[in-house]
């Protein structure tokens, strides 16, 4: 992959500060000042375009208050690229111009108004072009001071407006954005309690003795909790891994007036004397999330070191001893930062809390069927009508584990299947004692040469462990029986993440098709050939399929 780097100024290609970005992707620097040509280039590389408005707004524009007349022509090359290239375009811009604060003391200066309008126009473009990303460099550089970012000597000696530090900050921010385009943000924050959520050891000083109040260091802990609570509201899952007596920790949550976090904000917890790495692994299993989406936050350097060595997949940031720095540190961190927060993200904590409660209750029962009956599951089959197409497409795009073939059907594809066979192109909604899980599964069955084929069979991992897959199969089977179809064909395409759905096939009576010495294969060959199946093919006679746990569901 290549990132084409261009600018209105010179950016010192080959400077050491570019290394983090060149390690991320190969960099291709254009000629000095060729930013508009780079945007118009016919290639389809990613683009980092660094714009200094000072370089491109003509001096003669100064008298005009028609900002769009000045700015829209400058944005034309960008608009042309966005309409043509799908690869990411990162516009990093600076509207910095030295000036006396007096210029802006009574009204916003002409220059500041122009910069503000430029930024507005960029965000308007971003709203209609999902490949456009925007980086306001002035807010990046302001963190260390503009004077450290710019260097007039470099400008007069080499036409580069920036100092090494300025380039460094630009590169760090750009890497963060390109990295997030490629890799999802972290999903889970693992928190220690003593000296992390509050000052002091609750087991020694009791709930009333911990440091957690509106003054001094106690206020730093409160502000850290508030920052963490905000993450939770944006869909980050909070879990506890603490070496303590459990009752004492929950007593703090429930009765200390300084707590910004509530017990209901915590999705899972392991409060005991076991190794934290073991506990984090157990919680990852409970939440059905990979360890690589976990971040471990603990004041104790020894615990951090142990987590790094025992669970290297977990991200364990080094933390300053001064807790006063933590609130800003976690707010400014890229670890959890996403480009946007959806209403689905906001509901995530509750969904995972429900799932964790389900898993932990289920673990304690010996009579699984009895337990499943007791949670009053009500599945509902929904034909895929037009309003449900976006959800169907999203399930195809996002479901990785319980997904037989991981074919990312688009809404248009799904609409075609639904048109052909509305009865066997459906979504499934589920509610039970743990809440309304929403629309969480989907199946598409196609008939080819008189044989039924399981084109799509997927289920969100949020509802695993309920045997809902058996109920879905039962719906398919009863429809096929009415139609007099004899065989059901299925394909498992290993994706590296969906092994759990191969078990679904063997657990429900499907057998692997062996075309060489199985006479039954002859009947299926036409269908297998016309479907051009390349994965592992399974089949079963409809009447031989096993449907366990039939009586645990309440039919609507």
């Amino acid at each position: 992959m290549t990132i084409r780097v261009s600018s209105t100024s010179f950016l010192l290609p080959g400077n050491r500060q570019w290394t983090p970005l060149s390690q991320f992707d190969q960099l291709h620097f254009g000629e000095y000042g060729d930013w508009h040509l780079a945007l118009l280039s016919p290639d389809s590389d990613s683009s980092l375009c660094v714009i200094f408005l000072e370089d491109i707004v003509p001096d003669t524009a100064q008298s005009s208050s028609d900002f769009d007349a000045i700015l829209l022509p400058l944005l034309q090359p960008l608009e042309m690229r966005l309409s043509r290239v799908q690869a990411p375009t990162l516009i990093a811009f600076s509207g910095w111009r030295n000036g006396s604060p007096i210029h802006n003391a009574r009204q916003l200066s002409w220059w500041r108004q122009l910069v503000r309008r430029f930024e507005d126009l960029l965000y308007q473009l971003a709203a209609s072009h999902p490949s456009l990303y925007i980086l306001n460099l002035d807010s990046v550089w302001a963190q260390k001071g503009m004077a450290t970012a710019f260097d007039t000597r470099n400008f007069y000696a080499a036409r580069c407006r920036l100092s090494s530090q300025g380039i460094e900050q630009l590169v760090i921010s750009a890497v963060g954005i390109f990295e997030r385009i490629r890799n999802a943000a972290k999903k889970v924050l693992v928190l220690d309690c003593d000296n992390t959520l509050w000052g002091g050891v609750v087991g020694e000083v009791g709930t009333s003795g911990i440091t957690l109040e509106s003054d001094g260091t106690g206020n730093a802990f409160v502000n850290f909790q508030k920052a963490v609570r905000q993450l939770s509201r944006e869909g980050i899952l909070l879990v506890l891994a603490s070496k303590n007596n459990e009752a004492e920790v929950w007593d703090v949550f429930e009765s200390h007036p300084g707590m910004a976090l509530q017990r209901s904000d915590i999705v899972a917890a392991r409060i005991d004397w076991n190794e934290k790495a073991e506990n984090v692994r157990a919680m990852a299993e409970e939440l059905d999330l990979g360890l690589s989406s976990f971040v471990f936050w603990d004041d104790n350097p020894l615990e951090r070191e142990k987590m790094r060595s025992l669970c290297p997949e977990v991200t364990t940031p080094e933390l300053p001893v001064d807790v006063g720095q933590w609130p800003d540190l976690i707010k400014a961190s890229n670890l959890f930062a996403r480009f946007s927060v959806t209403s689905d993200d906001e509901r995530k904590s509750a969904q995972y809390r429900n799932r964790a409660a389900f898993v932990s209750e289920k673990k304690q029962v010996t009579d699984e069927a009895g337990f499943l009956r007791s949670i009053a599951m009500q599945p509902r089959l929904l034909p895929i009508t037009a309003p449900l197409l976006p959800r169907a497409e999203q399930l195809c795009a996002k479901t990785n584990q319980y997904n037989l073939r991981t074919i990312r059907h688009t809404a248009a594809d799904i609409a075609v299947f639904a048109g052909q066979d509305p009865e066997l192109t459906f979504l499934v909604q589920l509610s039970d004692r743990f809440g309304d899980h929403g629309i969480i599964a989907m199946a598409i069955v196609r008939e080819v040469s008189g044989i039924a084929f399981l084109d799509t069979f997927l289920m969100s991992c949020r509802v695993l462990g309920r045997h809902l897959e058996a109920w879905i199969l039962e719906q398919i089977v009863s429809t096929l029986q009415v139609r007099g179809v004899q065989w059901l064909l299925a394909e498992f395409i290993p994706s590296g993440r969906n092994e759990v759905s191969r078990d679904f096939l063997s657990d429900h009576g499907f057998v692997r098709l062996n075309t060489e010495n199985d006479l039954r294969a002859d009947k299926l060959t036409v269908a297998v050939d016309s479907l051009a199946l390349k994965g592992d093919v399974y089949f079963s006679e409809i009447n031989s399929l096993l449907i366990p746990y039939k009586d645990v569901f309440n039919q609507l």
Partner: protein, 77 residues
């Protein structure tokens, strides 16, 4: 400990052979050492030695020896 100028030169031009006694080397001694690479090298020296060259020095310091002399002067000042 600060890296030596020769060490910095090797870091900056990892694909070029830099002899132990490199004082006589200068911009143009090998193809990679062009004026842009030289400018970036002087910035690297500034960072590592915590000094700042003037715009005139950026233009005048051509060889490793020139840089050595400038550093000696700056550290004495």
């Amino acid at each position: 400990m600060k890296p030596t100028l020769t060490g910095l030169l090797r870091q900056h031009f990892p694909n070029s052979h830099i002899p132990d006694n490199a004082s006589n080397l200068a911009v143009g001694s090998f193809p990679e050492w062009d004026s842009l690479a030289h400018f970036n090298f002087l910035l690297l020296v500034e960072e590592n030695y915590d000094v700042r060259f003037t715009i005139e020095e950026m233009a005048d310091l051509k060889s490793l020896r020139d840089v050595e002399v400038a550093l000696a002067r700056l550290s004495a000042a």
